[in-house]
Subunit: 277 residues, 2 copies
């Protein structure tokens, strides 16, 4: 599989005449794996990393991202997107959190989510709820869109491609930001479930410290992927694979299966795009 992905990257970078590849490095496993595949496919000089933290990013994010860039041995640049978000008025929607201890921040963010997201992740997929909840959706989604603008600005100046890091679990469950992290030229791991990304990470020799991190969208303290989705990746992937292959689900937890089926039925609300006659 690794050789196949590397060939796919090389072929498409050539076919569409890109000079190289730009990737946002988050310190998580997906961008580490995608970055490693890019370096193997194109050589480190054709890969450029962008670190795009903002006011609410975890302090650990920058450290881990720099660690990944150094591990990949690629050039990179840190661009704080905080000033752009501030100009747009994004931060006026939420009080600054820097003065509060991290544990308290965690409880606060989870409190808002639990109170306002009446149907959990389905409320997010459907952009439905109180004005306070809608504002928190606009708040975090805008960050991903401004990251996309920044990635394309740096890429187009060079005639390079923007590489995405969406995996198949995220892709199928709508766990991405429309016109944000899903707006890319090439997606090297979109065909791999999260649990498969872990397998490939081990094969590629990605450092344990990155593999062992709890996956998080880093949009608010305490909100991990699994917390937001309401399911653990092991269960989610196993059920998604069974649904994909039309396999027997009777041995699965009923509530989990129901949750996954509901998510799949609601992805269409996330994916409203260019409706036209």
């Amino acid at each position: 599989m690794i050789k196949k992905i590397e060939g796919f990257i090389r072929e498409n970078i050539a076919a569409y005449k890109y000079g190289g590849a730009i990737i946002g490095i988050s310190g998580g496993i997906d961008s580490a794996v995608a970055g490693k595949l890019l370096v193997e496919a194109l050589g480190k000089d054709k890969v450029y990393g962008l670190l795009l933290p903002e006011r609410d990013s975890s302090p650990q994010t920058i450290k881990d991202s720099e660690f990944v860039c150094n591990y990949l041995n690629i050039d990179y640049k840190l661009i704080k997107i905080t000033p752009m978000l501030r100009e747009l008025g994004v931060y006026r929607l939420k009080p600054p959190s820097f003065w509060a201890p991290r544990a308290l921040q965690n409880r606060y963010a989870r409190g808002v989510w639990e109170k306002e997201a009446k149907r959990g992740y389905l409320s997010d997929l459907n952009t439905e709820g109180s004005i306070k909840f809608l504002e928190s959706l606009a708040y975090y989604r805008t960050k991903h869109r401004i990251r996309m603008c920044t990635l394309y600005f740096e890429a187009e100046k060079r005639g390079w491609a923007v590489v995405g890091t969406t995996n198949k679990t995220e892709y199928r469950t709508g766990f991405y930001i429309k016109w944000g992290d899903d707006a890319t030229d090439i997606e090297p791991i979109q065909h791999l479930y999260k649990t498969q990304v872990y397998e490939i990470a081990k094969e590629l020799g990605i450092p344990e410290i990155i593999i062992n991190k709890k996956p998080s969208p880093d949009i608010a303290p305490g909100i991990t992927d699994e917390y937001a989705l309401g399911l653990e990746y092991n269960d989610l992937d196993r059920i998604l694979m069974k649904i994909e292959k039309n396999e027997d689900l009777s041995l699965e937890n009923n509530a989990q299966v129901k949750k996954v089926i509901e998510i799949l039925a609601n992805v269409k609300y996330r994916n409203v795009r260019n409706l036209h006659l």
Copy 2:
């Protein structure tokens, strides 16, 4: 056709549970027509206009946009995106032009385009050329992407839809910004060629002052749509329609037909999106 579009808008706003529609008003005919269709379909209270000028916008743009919003009788807000673009470093790529007379600016912008876009519009579609040309592409494309972020920020806070104004001529020739003005929820006029938008504009009673404006992307002084495309809309639409219907092209100007066919063959470079295994 007008009734059909209005029904289409109403149905989809309801089906996807949007509270209303947000549209960027540019002062041009496309957003005036799309805005009018929205108002007829949803009522003026469910339509909100955003005016999103920046440093290089024509002084006429804001006046015409306010005129359109007043004609439509909708609420609107003006948000200057200049500070965000400045923070991103966009303006560092180009000298400020405010001190130069408009006619001189026109000559300058056209001079850069003519010198650097070796294959005219095809160079733009292919993102190919000197670093100076690539920088001018990144420069103007970023403006549209930041507009998109702003439209979605305002829309998602309210649970409203973002409405696009791409017409069929633009859609087929790739005359839009990837992940910029093409990133929308609903496209009421995407099935209408530019010349058909003019016909509908007259039926809808759009003011002559808007109908008679020379269409321009307002990205640089002197660069009109027809100048950038290298074809007049009348010729372009007639040839596109004949190609679509597989009609005889022998009475058309050979050079124009060749140009249109080349454009259609190169739209794939504009449309690189999420390539994956």
